[in-house]
Amino acid sequence: MHELSIVSSIVDTVTESLSAYPGAKVLEVRLRVGALASVVVESLEFCWGIAAEGTAMEGSKLVVHVLPVVMRCVPCAADVELEGVQSFRCPRCGEPCSDLRQGRELEIESIEIEDGEEQK
């Protein structure tokens, strides 16, 4: 349950990048979160309102795009998408896979902003 510290760092990062857009208001913050990132999406959303209060993100929407786990399957010579996180085997050939290609992402993809008065 470290979602509050995660949303706090999102607020910090977005605030930093807003310095290039003075007066802008954030409408939406879009995240890419891997299925193995060990964060609970509902919990992120719950904390978002609290963390965003009093910042340019107040009232904005947090949109979380969950990425499935992708493993490299050596026998298939292909990157394969897993259906869940209960078995790290290639869904095509059934061989165990140990080379993770996607699934631990925890990043801010983009923000949607409304320009401030001085930018009009």
Binding site: M1, H2, S9, L36, V39, Q86, L100, D115
Partner: protein, 224 residues
């Protein structure tokens, strides 16, 4: 009013990742093998580490440990009985250790220089969820699981087990009375982290400890 999309592509834990990368470089430069021990509360991390520190010291290795807990320095005092330098990190409510806490506690640690160590063990806060997100710059992340916890622990906490480099099963001396299904536990660990090294240990009887120490010695050679 005009709206626009601004691409950021920024890692949310970037600050921790950067600090961890710095720590990793300093560990490598000092030639010290750093391990991060993660498990639920009550798995026996401290008992396992007590045994490990004692055995390594008897073999002439230079060891130290950082131990994380929300409160109290009980674990640090237990571990210090091995004679190794030990420093407690109290997180006061935070559910994991992060790279900044490690960096701070490495500074000003009386009598301890990274360059004077062969092994540094970091005992994380007992938690199988949050520590998996925070890189501490370690070379080896160890997931521990005791025979009393249920063989499906790896399936319940795949994020942690999948990010581990080695798995340690603790309390093997009471496996039988606990009805521990060894085969099933091994299969579940392998299902989540195929091919991972697994050590079946008892801090009490010393079972599996030789094999574990052999693994550490080999890993250290690779670290130098």
């Amino acid at each position: 009013m005009t709206t626009r999309i601004v691409e950021l592509r920024r890692g949310i834990l970037k600050k921790n990742d950067e600090l961890a990368a710095g720590l990793r470089a300093s560990y490598a430069a000092a030639g010290v093998l750093v391990l991060n021990l993660v498990s639920s509360p009550g798995t026996g991390k401290t008992a396992f580490l007590e045994r490990t520190l004692k055995e390594l010291r008897e073999r002439g290795a230079r060891v130290a440990a950082l131990v994380g807990d929300l409160e109290t320095d009980n674990d640090a005092r237990r571990l210090a009985a091995s004679g190794a330098p030990v420093r407690q990190i109290n997180t006061h409510g935070i559910c994991h250790l992060d790279a900044e806490m490690i960096g701070k506690h490495l500074l000003g640690w009386e009598g301890v220089e990274l360059g004077g160590l062969d092994y540094l063990f970091i005992e994380n806060v007992g938690n199988l969820v949050c520590p998996s997100s925070y890189d501490l710059g370690e070379k080896i992340r160890v997931a521990l699981l005791s025979v009393t916890e249920g063989e499906d622990k790896p399936l319940k906490y795949p994020t942690l087990f999948n990010s581990a480099d080695a798995a340690v099963i603790t309390k093997m001396d009471i496996a039988e009375p606990c009805g521990f299904d060894r085969e099933l536990a091994l299969r579940n660990i392998n299902e989540i982290r195929p091919g991972i090294r697994i050590f079946e240990t008892s801090a009490k009887t010393g079972a599996g400890v030789e094999e574990w120490l052999g693994y550490l010695a080999k890993a250290r050679e690779g670290a130098e």
